[in-house]
């Protein structure tokens, strides 16, 4: 059943060829069988999943619900899930049972999508390899020696390995796209504000954006339709009608202007990645797209700006984890200061502590102008690059990451080289524009993702381009042999 597309599952559910109970049980069985090695789930929720599956079958029998009713889903462990442990990959929240549903979870629950569990991630979404999780590294289903990318590595791995048909992720500096690229799946980071952040544990609020992680662009369109929409509980939620992501999927892309920035093909780009991306661009050309050269001259500024701004916001966002009201508290605190110091020292991992310190430093008196304000200026320059480029083209393409998945442990002692793994994805988060990763081949047996970036509110266009590309390629249908 796990080799079916979600569209096929949906049809079979509504034709009563299969039940949600059977489908959900199938995935739970696969999780049992495979997740021991992969470590993609932090929490599996079989009872909740089966109860929801029964309800979904009732809904389908009564002709209620929608296209995704009865299709199971895995949520990144960053989304608060009522009565379910929600850890954000941290020891700090190892004992935290969320008292409410995130908007994204609430919507999927309303629709009757059984929750299989919560997926592993870099602690507080800070990382590009899912190695910094308190629950141990998630492995890449294509090669257990490789990382699945991060921070949404668990969600990418469960899609790639067929341990869930649909998953949610979040992307602050590339955390949906880079793991999607490393695991050979499709993922979209929508325009900032398209998906409500209500109930999504904050890392860097002005960048954080939830999105779907699926096998195909069509499935991403369906899932994004569930996740997106105005939410009055999030002040930065976009107050405009949701796009129709689905009905435009089949539009042809003749005359589409595809921008290729020279800056995305410079030194440091893996040869295998480059040749796959060039081939994908040629494929788009065959579909009638027109290739234009564009420039993003300030690309180099993006990573430094991001690593000031995101930690600055994080240093404040993570202050609430103080051991007072919930979460980890050190044993036998001697006084208030001791309670704070030890709870936070013992509850947070190294990368989280590093970013809190960097962020607090960037905001401190005497340094604010030189770091925080300067970085905000760079952020505007990077955004202006994109705005200008989109005067000449409809979408920008390039690689998602400079290399395919690297090995576990390869970069974990070298934060800067880890940070540079996101040099193509971060600029898009600075701009707040939508972008996708679409499977586009393999380099040395590890998947390569094509990066599609669009101007604000162009999700439907990006999904359309990706879907058309997936009509003439089958990279997105490949599954690692041992999970077939």
């Amino acid at each position: 059943m796990h080799t079916l597309s979600v569209k096929e599952m949906s049809e079979k559910l509504r034709n009563k060829e299969i039940t949600s109970v059977a489908l959900t049980q199938h995935y739970l069985d696969r999780i049992d069988q495979y997740d021991g090695d992969l470590n993609a789930y932090v929490t599996v929720t079989p009872e909740l999943a089966m109860e929801m599956a029964k309800q979904a079958d009732d809904m389908i029998a009564e002709g209620k619900g929608g296209l995704l009713t009865g299709i199971p889903v895995a949520h990144k462990d960053i989304f608060c899930t009522l009565d379910v442990k929600t850890t954000c990959g941290s020891k700090m929240l190892d004992n935290f049972i969320a008292p409410y549903d995130a908007k994204v979870v609430e919507e999927s629950r309303k629709l009757g999508m059984p929750i299989l569990g919560k997926t592993n991630m870099d602690e507080f979404a800070m990382g590009s390899s899912s190695e910094s999780s308190y629950y141990g590294a998630t492995k890449n289903p294509w090669d257990l020696k490789a990382v699945p990318g991060g921070s949404s590595g668990g969600s990418a791995a469960v899609i790639a390995a067929g341990l869930a048909p649909l998953a949610t992720g979040s992307d602050t500096g590339g955390s949906i796209r880079q793991p999607a690229s490393f695991c050979g799946i499709t993922g979209i980071k929508p325009t900032y504000g398209a998906v409500s952040r209500y109930g999504m544990i904050a890392y860097a609020s002005s960048f954080d954006q939830g999105g779907p992680m699926t096998r195909s662009a069509e499935e991403s369109a369906w899932m994004l339709d569930v996740m997106a929409g105005f939410d009055e509980r999030d002040s930065t939620s976009l107050e405009q009608p949701k796009q129709d992501y689905v009905s435009t999927l089949n539009n042809d892309i003749k005359g589409l202007k595809v921008g290729v920035p020279a800056e995305y093909f410079e030194a440091g780009l893996d040869e295998g990645v480059e040749s796959n991306i060039r081939a994908a661009i040629a494929e788009l050309e065959k579909l009638g797209a027109e290739i234009v050269e564009v420039s993003l001259p300030n690309k180099e500024l993006a990573v430094p700006a991001y690593y000031v701004l995101a930690p600055a916001e994080a240093s404040s966002n993570l202050s609430r984890f103080d051991g007072v009201r919930y979460g980890y508290r050190c044993e036998n605190p001697t006084d208030l200061n001791d309670l704070y110091t030890r709870s936070r020292s013992e509850g947070f991992g190294a990368e989280v502590k590093r970013r809190i310190m960097v962020g607090a430093y960037a905001l401190s008196a005497g340094y604010y102008d030189a770091y925080y304000l300067k970085a905000q200026k760079l952020r505007r320059m990077v955004r202006d690059d994109f705005v200008k480029a989109f005067e000449q083209c409809d979408v920008i393409v390039g690689p998602v990451a400079p290399t395919p998945a690297f090995n576990i442990g390869e970069k974990s002692d070298d934060p800067v080289s880890m940070y540079l793994a996101d040099l193509y994805t971060i600029p898009v988060n600075l701009a707040g524009m939508p972008a996708m990763s679409v499977p586009a081949g393999f380099s040395n047996g590890r998947p390569v993702g094509l990066h599609l970036v669009g101007p604000y509110h162009s999700e439907a266009k990006l999904l359309n381009v990706a879907h058309q590309y997936q009509q003439v390629t089958n990279w997105h249908q490949q599954m690692p042999e041992s999970y077939q």
Partner: protein
């Protein structure tokens, strides 16, 4: 050269909203601990603030009332510090771009002299919760009911030169926020909190190091605390010491200020714009809409009372002492068309009885309508002024309207001349000696006859008629 005192005040006025500034929790006072704290107030992961838009026009009102610039694009910032009653680890406030910007001025009067005090700014922020140190032995309790209560922090220039000026300014601001209807002014419940920054220096030299006096909940104590702090600083400096920048608490029982003994390292709050909230953009139309709803300000009201109602400065000041008082008075006048008589009643019997019962005019058992009804009966001679006091007391104890009481108690004034004549005749017949004395030139006896007639009528005879008839009969 003598020391010059320099005082600036920071006033936290709690805005009169139903719910908190960023969450839907109630802000009503006195609830059981933590019963008015929702997921956001508890600082739960993933929770996001949503601005309660009701605070915006309230802040604009203050800005307009003091003639300040309104921040057209004000920004919420995070003030980061750790404390158990601060659940998020930061307080959402406004730092670089406050909603009420520079230019505000308030006029005070001290010992007959008027003085202008500058208002630097006023910004919106959320209150913290409360730490409770005495409920659990060896532990501190946290009550988050107050966390997120909307505050307007009004910051003055260091323009005050004495404790009296500081208190005059604080009282003026207290009156203003209540007039504007943006704060209930309740100092006991902490709805209006005054922090005083006090320093001394020799004129012509830079300002001295200041100490901050916090959490003093009455004007009297503010004045005492500042006086004490001035004395203390003079003593410290004149004995060769240095004033330390610190927060000091005022102990009313011991009548002393003392250091809170906090380590006074320069706090670095790492302010930065809150990425969860959009800037507040205020248009010209927004400002005009608020302006259209602005109540008459106390100074303007006072001038109008003197000019239009012919009241004395003292009366006008008394009657405009609070917005509720002025509204009451104006409601009475609207019915009676008699400003002076109405003023006498409001300032006299009414205020006396309210004081005795510890009531605010807004909670008066005798409504403006009822009092006007009483005054009308005096005006149309249904009752005398003396009987009116009796009727007023009956109204106070809830016996109904003036008309009902007059009717039920049979207090209606006797205006029938023949009935009064009969009473007068009786009195004169029974007091022949006094009549003789009067006729012999002891004109003071006239009052005696009036008193006797009134007594015989149980106070109900019309005094003017009694006078007239007596005069005629005694000719």
């Amino acid at each position: 050269m003598t020391w010059e005192v320099v005082i600036g005040l920071e006033i936290h006025a709690q805005l009169t909203t139903k719910t908190k500034i960023f969450s839907g929790s109630s802000i009503s006072y006195g609830a059981e601990p933590n019963t008015q704290a929702n997921l956001l107030d508890l600082g739960m992961p993933g929770q996001l603030p949503v601005l309660n838009k009701a605070v915006i026009p309230k802040a604009i009102k203050l800005g307009l009332a003091i003639g300040a610039e309104i921040g057209r694009r004000s920004v919420f910032d995070r003030k980061n510090y750790f404390y158990p009653d601060l659940p998020k680890g930061y307080q959402t406030s406004q730092f670089s771009f406050p909603i009420v910007d520079k230019g505000g001025v308030v006029e005070i009067e001290v010992e007959g002299e008027t003085k202008k005090i500058g208002v630097t700014r006023a910004h919106l922020e959320e209150d913290a919760g409360k730490s409770i140190h005495d409920a659990f032995p060896g532990q501190t309790g946290v009550d988050l009911n107050r966390a997120g209560t909307p505050l307007l922090e009004i910051v003055s220039e260091p323009d005050m030169r004495s404790a009296k000026e500081a208190v005059a300014y604080a009282k003026k601001m207290h009156e203003l926020v209540q007039y504007l209807g943006i704060c209930d002014g309740n100092m006991q419940e902490g709805s209006f909190r005054v922090d005083s920054n006090v320093s001394i220096h020799k004129p012509g030299t830079p300002f001295g190091t200041r100490a901050e006096l916090k959490n003093i909940n009455s004007f009297k104590f503010i004045e005492q605390a500042i006086e004490l702090e001035i004395e203390r600083q003079i003593e410290v400096l004149e004995s060769g010491g240095q004033v330390v920048q610190e927060t000091r608490l005022y102990d009313a029982d011991k009548n002393e200020t003392r250091s809170m003994r906090e380590k006074e390292e320069a706090n670095d709050y790492r302010y930065f714009p809150c990425p969860d909230l959009l800037p507040v953009v205020i248009t010209e139309e927004d400002i005009e809409a608020v302006r259209a709803e602005m109540p008459e300000m106390p100074d303007a009201k006072r001038k109008r009372y003197v000019a239009d109602f012919n009241l004395s400065d003292y009366d006008a000041a008394f009657l405009t002492g609070s917005r509720a008082m002025a509204e009451y008075f104006e409601a009475v006048v609207a019915k009676t068309n008699e400003a002076k008589v109405s003023a006498n009643w409001v300032m006299g019997e009414l205020s006396k009885s309210l004081n005795q019962n510890g009531l605010d005019v807004a909670d008066s058992p005798v409504s403006a309508d009822m009092l006007a009804g009483l005054i009308e009966r005096i005006q149309d001679n249904t009752i005398s002024g003396k009987i009116a006091k009796q009727v007023f007391d009956a109204m106070l104890s809830g016996e109904g309207s003036a008309d009902e009481i007059v009717e039920n108690k049979g207090l209606k004034q006797i205006t029938d001349s023949s009935a009064i004549e009969a009473l007068v005749d009786d009195v004169l017949a029974n007091n022949t000696a006094q009549v003789e004395a009067y006729k012999g030139g002891q004109e003071k006896m006239f009052g005696f006859f009036v008193g006797q007639v009134m007594k015989a009528s149980q106070g109900q005879a019309n005094p003017a008629q009694v006078n007239q008839i007596l005069k005629d009969k005694l000719k």
